[in-house]
């Protein structure tokens, strides 16, 4: 019997454990998930929380236990150290756990404090912070709102542009849109990394009268003067600043010496394997791959890794590889959204804003808890 250890019970970790539990019997494998929290949080909901939507609590948070297959053992504990040489993980309360296969799915953490003056900013990269932003928006009666990026990489690259479009919708419904100037501080010369998508988003922003600033990567903030400065030497005065905070890999990854350049674990872009350790896989935000840090990438990677471990254990020769697939829905407000589906080889096409994709996004929000986390789709 093989011991499979999954570190991290977020999107990627939950899917990989469920995929393996469905494919392998109890005699073939013992599957354990270690997660520091008993709660599983659906992070895309933070945007809606920040904008004051009245979401049901179960649309945001559920217990991890109820989301895992009954053949998966869940340990709520904090992993302190991962030793890939001797194949074990040290947990704060439980002690040492060894493994035959390990999947690292520890995600990312935010470090707003790395930007001087961050105290004057708001963001939606945590539930508490999203609630704080929601209150600030509720009280906002007019002025300049800027949305910018304090560090790269960050989760869900389209989120800040999406948030600007949703702010336009929010203030239109509040009937004070004419009193609010919305500014998008784009880290790139375009509104989105890929040219074809940028074209569609730029057209949308111009239609919505969202001012966008090319090549504005936030470097610091002056809280008294309410000025945000860019790495490229520009500045903007604001009344309310929404700053995507810098992200780093999980502490345990950094402290175990597995991460590079901010704690991201280097892995093979197709096999998702860590260096020459054929029993160690890394998925989701924890990797150093040039794909977006997204639930979609974590989902596709988890399915590939589940199938690879299954192939290994059952002695199958052919193993699937990750093709870089990411898909993404972006809500533009007014019940319109865009949809993108791309991989390493195939770039996204110029998307169309439609009601259909808006419904698609709503469907994903619901299906996340069932079909997606169970690894059925």
């Amino acid at each position: 019997m093989k011991k499979i250890l999954v570190v991290g019970g977020g999107t990627g970790g939950t899917i990989v454990a469920n995929v393996l539990a469905r494919k392998l019997s109890r005699k073939e494998a013992e599957i354990t998930v270690v997660s520091e929290s008993p709660k599983h949080i659906y992070q895309p909901a933070f945007i809606y929380t920040a904008l004051g939507y009245n979401l049901h609590e179960r649309d945001i948070v559920r217990g991890e236990e109820e989301l895992l297959d009954k053949n998966v053992k869940l340990i709520i504990d904090n992993a302190l150290r991962i030793d890939v040489e001797d194949r074990y993980v040290v947990l704060e309360r439980t002690g040492k756990l060894d493994y035959d296969y390990m999947v690292i799915a520890t995600g990312s953490r935010i470090v707003p404090e790395e930007v001087p003056g961050y105290q004057a900013t708001y963001h939606f990269y945590g539930l508490e912070e999203a609630n704080r932003l929601s209150k600030a928006l509720e009280e906002f009666s007019g002025g300049v709102i800027a949305v910018g990026i304090g560090g790269i990489p960050y989760k869900c690259p389209p989120a800040p542009a999406e948030f600007c479009c949703l702010l336009d919708y929010y203030f239109t419904r509040k009937k004070i849109r004419d009193k609010v100037e919305i500014h998008y501080l784009s880290p790139l010369p375009r509104t989105f990394p890929h040219e074809a998508v940028a074209e569609a988003i730029t057209e949308m922003m111009e239609k919505k009268d969202i001012h966008w600033h090319p090549m504005f990567n936030i470097e610091s903030v002056d809280p008294e003067k309410r000025i945000v400065y860019s790495l490229e030497g520009e500045s903007l005065r604001f009344d309310l600043l929404v700053m995507v905070p810098p992200h780093r890999g999980a502490k345990v990854v950094e402290e175990s010496g597995l991460g590079v350049d901010g704690g991201w674990i280097p892995v093979d872009k197709h096999a998702l394997q860590y260096k020459d350790y054929s029993e160690v896989y890394v998925i989701g935000d924890a990797t150093n791959l040039p794909v977006s840090k997204s639930g979609a990438a974590a989902h596709f990677e988890a399915k590939v890794v589940g199938d690879r471990i299954y192939a290994d254990i059952t002695g199958k020769k052919s193993k699937p590889v990750y093709d870089g697939r990411v898909l993404c829905f972006c809500d533009a407000g007014f019940r319109k959204a865009i949809y993108m589906d791309f991989n390493y080889e195939k770039p996204p096409r110029k998307p169309r804003f439609s009601y259909l994709w808006y419904l698609g996004k709503q469907a994903v929000n619901k299906l996340y808890w069932s079909l997606i986390l169970k690894g059925i789709v």
Binding site: I152, L188, E232, P290, M340, E345
Partner: protein, 79 residues
């Protein structure tokens, strides 16, 4: 090939989002002054946006090379 010593290679081939320029900005933020970064890109937009960003941010574009199926950009962090 240039004789410049490259401190870090960023292989962003096949990246459409976040894309090669975001990968470069991340590497520049993490690099020390004077370090040299090589970025590999298969994205057609990189040929305009990497030089534009490097110039605006005040770093130095040392070279752009067409390789087998991708482009290599060599950038030095100067401040």
């Amino acid at each position: 090939m240039s004789e410049i010593k490259v401190n870090k290679v960023v292989d962003a081939r096949g990246s459409h989002c976040p894309g090669p320029l975001m990968e470069l900005i991340k590497a520049i933020r993490n690099a020390g002054v004077g370090e040299v970064i090589a970025v590999y890109s298969t994205d057609s937009g990189s040929k305009t946006d990497i030089p534009r960003w490097v110039e605006k941010a005040g770093h130095q574009l040392i070279g752009v090379y067409e390789r087998n199926g991708y482009t290599e950009f060599i950038v030095k962090k100067v401040k």
